[in-house]
Amino acid sequence: MTEKPKVGVYICHCGINISSTVDVDAVAEFAKKLPNVEVARTYSYMCSDPGQVLIKKDIEEQGLNRIVVASCSPRMHEPTFRKAISEAGVNPYFLEMANIREQCSWVHEEMEEGTAKAEKLVGASVAKVRLLEALETKEVDAEPAALVIGAGIAGIQSALDIADAGFKVYLVEKTPSVGGRMAQLDKTFPTLDCSACILTPKMVDAASHPNIELLSYSEVEEVTGFVGNFDVKVRKKARYVDFNKCTGCGDCAKECRVKDRFPNEFDQGLGKRSAIYLPFPQAVPAKYTIDAENCLFLSKGKCGKNPKCQEVCGAEAIDFEQKDEFVEFKVGAIIVATGFDPFDASRKPEYGYDDYPNVITGMEMERLVSASGPTEGKIKIFNGEEEIEPKEVALIKCVGSRDESVGNEYCSRVCCMYVAKQAHLIRDKLPDANIRIYYMDVRAFGKGFEEFYDRVRRENVRYIRGNPSEIFKRGNKLVVKVEDTLTSRPLEDEVDLVVLGVGLEPRADMREVMDLLRLSQSPDRFFLEAHPKLRPVDTATDGVFLAGCAQGPKDIPDTVAQAKGAAASAMIPLARGKVTINAQVAIVNEATCRGCGFCVNICPYTAIELVTVNRFGNEVEVARVNEALCKGCGSCSAACLSDSIQPKSFRDSQILPQIAALGVMK
């Protein structure tokens, strides 16, 4: 620090947000007396254009070289003021924000207290700003490609948008086919478009797009690097079918020795499939996959004389020798579109899902009513004696949602509408059935939702307000025990079929993705976005974005909207071709570092590694920070026993005088 610090202090009224409990003029008078302070001013909105001009003018006229802005949280306007002082020729890191709003005026009621605290905060910031160092912002190249994890509607939409913009996309899907949950749905609310009809073209587009490399039946194994420069390793699981040779004719599945023996995941187990299978007729890619666990040849080593599939495959595509393969590539941004799990109805044992075959989930209902489903769209149940069309149908909402007993306090946001839609579809197929919906509330908030809800009620579907306590069997009937809370009458409602409107839950395997990409969970256990309002598709990891139900339950329109948002955000570094890296990074004092690697272990961004350096002829290991990865969080500094690593702008020598100025220590 060669030049003498000349500090300007700018105190914001924030309308009356600050000035109603802080005497801003008094704070300015106080600040003027602090060492090195040349000027202290107040203004109604410091962040406004005239406010910024005020600062810039002082810098030019009075030669200020350090600026303290006493206003709101640095989360809010630090970038604004950094830019402003930088435009006036002062290093943007010669700025200190004193938060006299969130941490002062908003939490005090007395003017006297608020003013006293604001003075302390300003004094502390002045003490620190004098000791700051000039930092340079650096840029590195960004790889013009993106990784999209999960190829449901969210992942497909994100991938298509990015690919259409001209960037390479790697679309990785865990299961053999793209499509996700939406492919399983019959009709979509409130417009009753056929789900497959609107989704299938997108699935095909995703697979055939010249800019999209689809890696189906694959899983992301490893992600290292940072925004603009992620190194990704993907495991392509063995299908035991040569991807290029398979024509998708299906002869293998027809001839499989264990034909139609295993529950078909796509049909929620209602239909059966062979050990070699295509998940559903419109699957993309239309390539068969052998389920190694159930294939006789792969699990037992023997399948008749020769495996049938191999015998009948005209394309000679069956390859039992196939091994998992690894592909590695580089991307600049990542979109997580891993979706959700439907709530497991077994966790509400009072509803008897495990005990009674005629208690089914909403997802199962989707497959039952679907023309391409296991029953070709016929709603038939077995009542113990014969197969009948159900006459009395009950649908129950909020199963596994808004329910603290299963740990899900949140609303799943789609059940109100999908239950209404299913009631409509049942009415369509069973005109004479008596249909009732048990509900806690009806939340029909989306475009066209309320209208659809009205339409369903007009179709003679009864809404009964009550949360059933139990379902049990009486003869051939199921009895829904419930209190109608509008009339305070207990009911024992005898029905043939119960549909549980199960909610959406975070995926059981989300921990793997969290660890892979260093993501966090919100209290509802879905992935946490960077800011609930202003950065809803970003995450705490730069360059990693969220789309669809991985971030929280949402319907298809919202999912698609978010997927497009995530794609647009992901394209920022790709289009710019450069990423700016944080200048406030940790720095190691190599002379005192003992090379224990605690910081390496503790760094949440894997930004630190041990390197060998020459210390007076001896080779020693010391920590070194990858500035592109470091977020300046300071965890390393807390873990370092010898105080040898500290974040710039937050060094002991900078923050201890700040603390001292608060009067906390000498």
Binding site: R511, A591, T592, R594, G595, C596, G597, F598, C599, V600, N601, I602, L610, R615, F616, G617, N618, E619, V620, E621, A639, L641, S642, D643, S644, D652, S653, L656
Partner: protein, 328 residues
């Protein structure tokens, strides 16, 4: 326990003669009385000085990191030969913990394991058998100790002299070694940790009073830090002047800051060799402090320092399923 000195010296001579070994650190007889000194043996002849007896209380692992890395003159290569080290069970945990913390590399050290039936507490010994200028020896004799002084042999019951750390020892056999000098000894029934229990029996105010009394005595000689095999930062934060975390005046406040900072720096790292307490000239029961923290770490996180060279360092590891019930 029949530790064969001839065998020990022969092995040591062989090891120190190796081309890839720079020197060997072992125990040798001191200059008077019951004293045992560290021996830095550079050649086969020197190995004849080595001993291993109940008087070998010191943890020599500290010399692995205490050795100064001198600047290498231009044109010369650094001496990267190994250091051979004799370790008891407890000492070996220090070696393991140093490996965990990358304080040393496994290839840098030849570990000579000495299974240990327990060593004596020098203070207890001096109390009962006053210091003498003549050299005295000690041996293990079955369950007991044998004091050899002035041509006289005195049998002393094990319980009479056994060091506190040995009463609580769960690892009498070295955890890692390249050469094991003897058959493993059998572990013994553990004593209750009365020292820690005494602290745990006190309420917060009583604890504060207890430690206030202890820390008042501290003369800040830093012997505890210097002898500790795991206090090996070349530039200790507690020595720094900017910022001055601990002032250099000897008074209760600064003494407390020093002792507490050191205890926290050792949480999940202390291997309970008891050296800090042994060397403390003010007789501050530092073992109680460090063992209490080690116990907390063991109970709350299921982690024990210095038993697994592959472990992640406790202070730098996080498990999503760490218990958090005691944090808030």
């Amino acid at each position: 326990m029949k530790m064969d000195l001839e065998q020990l010296r022969k092995t040591a001579a062989e090891v120190v003669s190796r081309d890839d070994v720079r020197y060997l650190v072992g125990w040798k007889q001191g200059t008077y009385g019951y004293r045992v000194a560290p021996g830095f043996i550079e050649d086969a002849a020197g190995a004849a000085e080595l001993i291993f007896s109940p008087l070998c209380t010191a943890n020599l692992a500290t010399y692995l990191t205490l050795a100064e890395q001198l600047p290498v003159p231009r044109g010369e290569e650094p001496d990267d030969r190994k250091v051979a080290l004799m370790v008891k069970g407890c000492d070996s945990r220090a070696v393991v913990q140093l490996l965990v913390e990358k304080g040393i590399e496994r290839d840098d050290v030849v570990v000579i394991g000495c299974p240990c039936p327990g060593v004596i507490d020098a203070d207890l010994l001096a109390e009962k058998y006053p210091e003498t200028e003549d050299l005295a020896e000690m041996k293990w004799d079955g369950e007991d100790f044998l004091l050899i002084h002035g041509g006289e042999e005195t049998k002393i019951a094990r319980d009479e002299l056994l060091a506190e750390k040995c009463r609580l020892c769960r690892y009498p056999n070295p955890i890692i070694s390249d050469i094991m000098l003897d058959q493993e000894v059998e572990t013994w029934e553990l004593a209750e940790d009365e020292g820690v229990q005494e602290i745990e029996g006190k309420d917060v105010d009583e604890r504060a009073d207890y430690w206030a009394e202890q820390f008042e005595k501290c003369i800040r000689c830093y012997s505890c830090r210097n002898v500790c095999p795991l206090c090996y930062c070349q530039d200790c934060v507690l020595d720094r002047l900017n910022p001055t975390w601990v002032n250099r005046s000897v008074n209760f406040s600064e003494n407390t800051a020093f002792n507490i900072a050191r205890a926290f720096h050792l949480a999940g790292r202390c291997i309970e060799c008891g050296e800090c307490e042994r060397v403390c000239p003010a007789n501050i029961p530092l073992g109680k402090l460090n063992r209490k923290l080690a116990r907390e770490v063991r109970d709350k996180y299921g982690f024990e320092a210095g038993v697994d060279p592959e472990a992640e360092p406790f202070q730098a590891s996080f498990k999503p399923d760490d218990p958090e019930d005691f944090i808030l």
